[in-house]
């Protein structure tokens, strides 16, 4: 058989395996819903026809069947015969190690959010609030910078691999956009025409006074 034929047959086998996996998963889902429903329905019928005690026995029997089915599934999964739920392996690969910097950043963000909330309901005065916010924002930015520096080599590597792949496929731009670890080209924040408050770049209405913010000339809808 030609190499192409072998490849095609391998693809068909793999496809059939995937189908078999999918059908086994559907079977599992069907049993997971069907068995309890059938058991309860039968128990209700038996309870009406015969007695409450017999209904309990029917429920017990269906629970026993369920036990056997679940243990069977467990052993099959352990031995490798049964497919895992779709996406499970992919998620498992994304394991996160303990990340002290990430934890610190999360805490600082939480602190800033708390401060915002407490200030809104009047438990912190403006002076204290401003002092706290300055300090916490500085710390947050420092942590973010550190995180970027940590990630920078991997990010560079990832960008390089992506560029090379695209070039091989003939899709990507011929020259690289930039080699800096982080593109600092961010659109500037928008000032409201009415009250001059600072708003997000993509704001449509001012968050302080509610007036509409005019679109800048030549601005596109591309996300920053």
């Amino acid at each position: 058989m030609t190499e192409r034929g072998v490849q095609r047959r391998a693809a068909r086998v793999a496809e059939r395996a995937l189908d078999a996996d999918e059908s086994e998963r559907s079977l599992g889902r069907a049993i997971a819903i069907g068995l309890p429903l059938t058991g309860v329905a039968t128990a209700v019928v038996v309870g009406i026809v015969a007695s409450f005690g017999t209904a309990l026995l029917v429920l017990a029997a269906s629970a026993l069947i369920g036990t056997i089915a679940l243990l069977w599934a467990s052993v099959r999964t352990l031995s490798g015969d049964a497919p895992l739920p779709s996406g499970f392996e992919a998620i498992a690969r994304q394991r996160h190690a303990v990340d002290p910097l990430g934890e610190r950043k999360r805490r600082v963000l939480r602190a800033l959010k708390d401060l915002e909330g407490e200030h809104a309901i009047g438990k912190i005065d403006d002076a204290d609030y401003a002092a706290f916010v300055t300090r916490y924002r500085a710390e947050a930015k420092a942590v973010m910078r550190e995180m970027d520096l940590d990630v920078a080599p991997s990010r560079d590597e990832a960008e390089r691999i992506a560029r090379e792949f695209l070039q091989r496929k003939g899709l990507g731009p011929a020259k690289s956009a930039d080699a800096a670890p982080r593109s600092p080209v961010e659109p500037a924040r928008r000032a409201c025409g009415a009250c001059k408050a600072s708003n997000e770049p993509d704001a449509v209405f001012c968050k302080a006074c509610g007036a509409a913010i005019a679109k800048e000339h030549g601005e596109t809808d591309a996300a920053p």
Binding site: S51, G53, L71, V75, A92, R110, A111, K123, K141, R145
Partner: protein, 952 residues
């Protein structure tokens, strides 16, 4: 009815027993596979462990269903079924007999545990994959313990040695009532629920993922278990109130205390985890708290069942105490070792194997070394009480100190001190939560000490020195602690996270303080006029200065209780007002459709709550829970104004008490399948208006004709409960009836408070929409959660039509005046067959004689103290309701008070350390290219974006 018993022949009981062994096998299999999954990290192994967990759940379900079948079909070959049911019992009580006795209630515990495991594994799904294996393994270990217990010591499927009986013994009528149907399941749901957060903690310790992950993951489970602990305790109070018929709802019974203690630690835990989430502090403390909560749930079951401390729950005594002690020891040793292993992470130092081994070695060496050292201390010539105190303190502190020494030595070269203050200000929620933990743990320690004091006193002073700790002692001491808790609850709410500006704090105090002063003033002036005087004097529990001081404090309890409740209510209302003001200012209020406001305001309020961010929703849900607790405290304060009277009436006669006039209309008899019922109808008039007819009764069961049960009749109202008990009805003397009459003010507020608590908890637990979820699914989940809670609330609120209740003896208690009442409440009945009854409640003959003797002495002019002393001389220290305040017995209040004071000192030192750590200015030195300036840079935009999205 034809049963399928014939199909099984003689093997059905054996089949049931083998199911338990099968559950043991499956749980072991799952335990092993889960550990393997943790070790190799493969998703396949984890999925196999999950299936194994589901299989265990199903198998336990089979066992419970089989036992239920045995009850319903009256399979009296099984000893448990024969002992706790009979052919005449209606179906619903047959089902409740499942947990009526020990073996069945252990199986019920296992069943609830398996339900939790099933729900937890399902909920975990594809999340927290690193923690899952160890969570499953821990839960399986607990399942294994109960399976082993039941297989070898308390098998519910064990058969009668003598063969099947014709009929069973029937369930104790005390247990055949509505509240017995739901009280144990609810309480068990709370107890068992504490296993899940504990499993999360173990998973975090084993994997080293000790930051906020396990706390966020276990949050809803903790809240759920906490809520059911609260519900279970309240139902216990309802049961005691409606069924036990002594007129009250909490007797400080050891079993009641054992159910209350995990509630206290769980309450402390839900507050202190918020500090860990925000600050990364208190890691060791939180792990300790959740471990202690779980320990207390098992310990509580152990106390109930081992019979070590006599209690009303004495139906549950048995010999399985040894198994529990072994399990508790293994639990403590295992958790301690884990904590020692993870000491570096818990103390925020980069871990190394050397550090870990050193910590473990130090910890275990100290524990081993403590042995001879403690023996040495024991042999010192100190008073025994001091010896015991010293040993306990030394052993506990030694391990901690050893670990710290090792830790500091090995990290002496490293810069491990925090680089900036851990908390910014003492005027912050962080600090008040620490205070919350302090007072809750103080209360816990006090109750623990008092509950186990009979054992301690016996160990210290021998059999002659054994004392009992009765309700008067608890009432005198717990009231001050409870009031401090109430005060701190209100003050804590005033503070905000990080720091509360002094000016803001001053502003926030005006309204609540004003309300409190007005409330206190009104109470002082008008209290007596409305029947709720502000100062109520009672008897001192000790002679001497301490007794006098306690007496003065307790006299002011009604005033302080009412004032503090007003304070708390005002603070909570103010918080909500601030919330709405902030939302109005920011325009967020417009997100609630106006129609919801016009429809009475409440729908709008509820909608606002649900549209808050999760953190805010939990905060304001927490305030509603606090409101519920305030309402319960109002109910507890009502105890100060209880009125208790006795009267013998002929039909047609009336008796006046307070505003009420009770007219005995007459007696009547009814009969049903298993009992004869004698009702005494009483018409209740208040201020001349007819209110209702109450019919207290006596039920004479065919199975137990010698011990008729007394059915209480209660008229529930917002202001007062009219509580009637009929002692005897004498048909040969024109149906003269002897009544006990209690007017219990404000009790209904306790049940209302619990409902509000459930509502608040539900708000806290409200699920948040995940990204990508449709609104419909989120709404459906929320509705399901609420429906379950509301259903529970309806069950709580519905008053059952017929109840039954047993007192161990029949007869009535005659008390002629308040002097007698006060004496009888301080002395125990020593007949030997009633567990802890006071002379004021026990109707047996021995108690009658004792009461008569005391009456004679009173008429002869003897003083109260002398009579008490003579009674104690005759029967021993055990005869007193309050342990005498002398010698080593002082330890019961001295040790807790000293510990509480030391705790406060420790707290002060901790706060000082947190405040002073490192330089006040610093954040870490930035490594980035941009200098730390005040100008805006690219990170500001990203920061704002992330803050906007932060929604946990």
């Amino acid at each position: 009815m034809p049963s399928l018993l014939h199909v099984f022949g003689n093997t059905f009981p054996a089949f049931g027993a083998s199911l338990l062994l099968g559950a043991m096998v499956v749980a072991s299999y799952t335990f092993a596979v889960a550990l393997k999954a943790g070790a190799d990290g493969r998703p396949r192994t984890l999925q196999a462990a999950r299936f194994g967990a589901y299989g265990t759940v199903a198998l336990i379900g089979v066992a419970v269903l089989c036992l239920a079948y045995a009850f319903v079909t009256h399979d009296f070959r099984i000893r448990y079924v024969a002992h706790y049911s009979d052919r005449s019992m209606p179906l619903e009580y047959l089902i409740t007999a499942l947990w009526g006795g020990q073996d069945g209630s252990l199986l019920w515990w296992l069943f609830l545990l398996s339900a939790y495991i099933g729900a937890c594994v399902l909920w975990l799904g594809k999340r927290y994959l690193e923690l899952q294996p160890y969570i499953i393994a821990t839960l399986m270990a607990v399942v294994l313990f109960f399976c082993v217990l039941m297989a070898f010591a308390a098998n519910p499927f064990a058969t009668n040695v003598a063969g099947p009986r014709a009929d069973g013994e029937g369930l104790n009528p005390l247990l055949q009532n509505y509240w017995m149907v739901i009280h144990p399941p609810c309480l068990y749901t709370g107890f068992v629920g504490c296993s899940v957060p504990f499993a999360f903690a173990v998973g975090a310790l084993v994997t080293g993922r000790l930051d906020h992950e396990w706390i966020v993951a276990s949050r809803k489970w903790t809240l759920f278990a906490w809520m059911f602990l609260g519900i279970g305790n309240t139902l216990g109070m309802l049961w005691a109130y409606e069924e036990l018929g002594w007129g009250g709802y909490w007797g400080w019974d050891p079993v009641e205390n054992a159910a209350f203690m995990p509630f206290l630690t769980a309450s402390a835990y839900v507050h202190s985890v918020m500090i860990q989430e925000r600050r990364g502090l208190l890691k060791v403390w939180n792990v300790f708290l959740i471990g202690l909560t779980f320990f207390l749930t098992i310990f509580g079951t152990f106390l109930t069942r081992s019979g070590m401390i006599s209690s009303v729950h004495s139906f549950a005594q048995s010999s399985i105490g040894g198994y529990f002690v072994a399990f508790l020891l293994i639990l403590v040793a295992f958790t301690a070792t884990l904590v020692m292993w993870r000491w570096p992470e818990l103390r925020d130092v980069t871990p190394s194997l050397r550090l870990r081994k050193a910590a473990l070695a130090a910890g275990w060496l100290v524990i081993a070394a403590c042995g001879p050292g403690l023996v040495f201390v024991w042999r010192l010539g100190l008073p025994v009480g001091w010896r015991v105190t010293l040993i306990a303190a030394i052993a506990g502190a030694a391990v901690f100190v050893a670990l710290e020494i090792v830790f500091r030595r090995m990290t002496s070269g490293l810069d491990v001190r925090p680089r900036r203050p851990q908390i910014e200000s003492v005027f912050s929620r962080e600090f008040t939560f620490l205070l919350n933990n302090w007072i809750l743990c103080s209360l816990l320690f006090f109750i623990l000490m008092a509950t186990t004091f009979p054992l301690i006193s016996e160990a210290l002073a021998g059999k002659e020195g054994k004392v009992t700790v009765g309700p008067p002692f608890y009432k005198a001491w717990v009231q001050p602690l409870g009031l401090v808790l109430l005060l701190l609850m209100g003050i804590g709410t005033l503070f905000g996270w990080k720091k509360t500006s002094p000016e803001a704090l001053r502003r926030a105090c005006y309204a609540p303080l004003a309300a409190t002063c007005v409330g206190a003033g009104l109470h002082l002036v008008l209290g007596r006029a409305v029947g709720f005087p502000a100062i109520v004097w009672s008897d001192a529990i000790y002679p001497g200065a301490l007794g006098a001081a306690l007496r003065v404090f307790n006299a002011c309890t009604p005033l302080m209780g009412v004032s503090l409740c007003v304070f708390n209510a005002a603070v909570i209302v103010q918080e909500f007002a601030l919330l709405f003001r902030a939302r109005a200012q920011s325009g967020a209020l417009r997100s609630t459709p106006a129609v919801l406001w016009w429809a009475g305001g409440v729908p709008g309020f509820v909608h606002t709550l649900f549209s808050l961010s999760p953190a805010s929703r939990r905060r304001y849900g927490g305030y509603i829970v606090h409101l519920g607790i305030v309402l319960m405290f109002i109910g507890f304060t009502g105890q100060s104004w209880n009125v208790d009277r006795e009267a013998s009436l002929f039909p047609g006669e009336s008796y006046a008490v307070g505003d009420y006039n009770l007219r005995y209309a007459g007696a009547r008899m009814e009969v049903d399948n298993n009992k004869r019922m004698v009702f005494a109808d009483v018409d209740v008039f208040k201020s001349g208006h007819y209110v209702e007819r109450l019919s207290p009764a006596k039920f004479i069961y065919k199975k137990q004709p010698d011990s008729p049960t007394t059915e209480v009749a209660i008229g529930h109202h917002l202001r007062d409960d009219v509580y009637l008990i009929v002692g005897t009805v004498n048909p040969s003397n024109r149906n003269i009836a002897a009544f006990q009459i209690h007017i219990n003010p404000l009790v209904t507020w306790i049940w209302l408070g619990c409902l509000v608590l459930i509502a608040g908890s539900s708000i806290c637990m409200w699920p948040q929409l995940e990204l990508g979820e449709s609104r419909v699914w989120g709404g459906a989940r929320g509705v399901a959660a609420t429906a379950a809670s509301v259903l529970l609330g309806i069950m709580l609120a519905a008053t059952p039509a017929a109840r039954a209740q047993t007192m161990p003896h029949t007869g009535t208690v005659h008390i002629e005046n308040d002097a007698e009442r006060s004496l009888f409440s301080s002395l125990r009945c020593m007949c030997g067959s009633c567990p802890r009854d006071l002379l004021s409640t026990c109707p047996c003959e021995t108690a009658d004689e004792a009461r008569e003797n005391i009456r004679v002495k009173l008429r002869a002019g003897e003083t109260r103290d002398r009579i008490i002393a003579e009674y104690a001389d005759e029967y021993g220290a055990e005869a007193l309701a309050v342990p005498p305040n002398r010698g080593v017995l002082r330890a019961i209040w001295l040790v807790p008070m000293v510990t509480i004071a030391l705790g406060a000192l420790g707290l002060a030192r901790l706060v000082r350390r947190w405040r002073g750590g490192g330089s006040p200015s610093g954040s870490s030195a930035p490594r980035g290219r941009n200098p730390e300036g005040t100008g805006k840079d690219v990170y500001d935009a990203q920061l704002d974006e992330e803050l906007k999205d932060l929604d946990d």
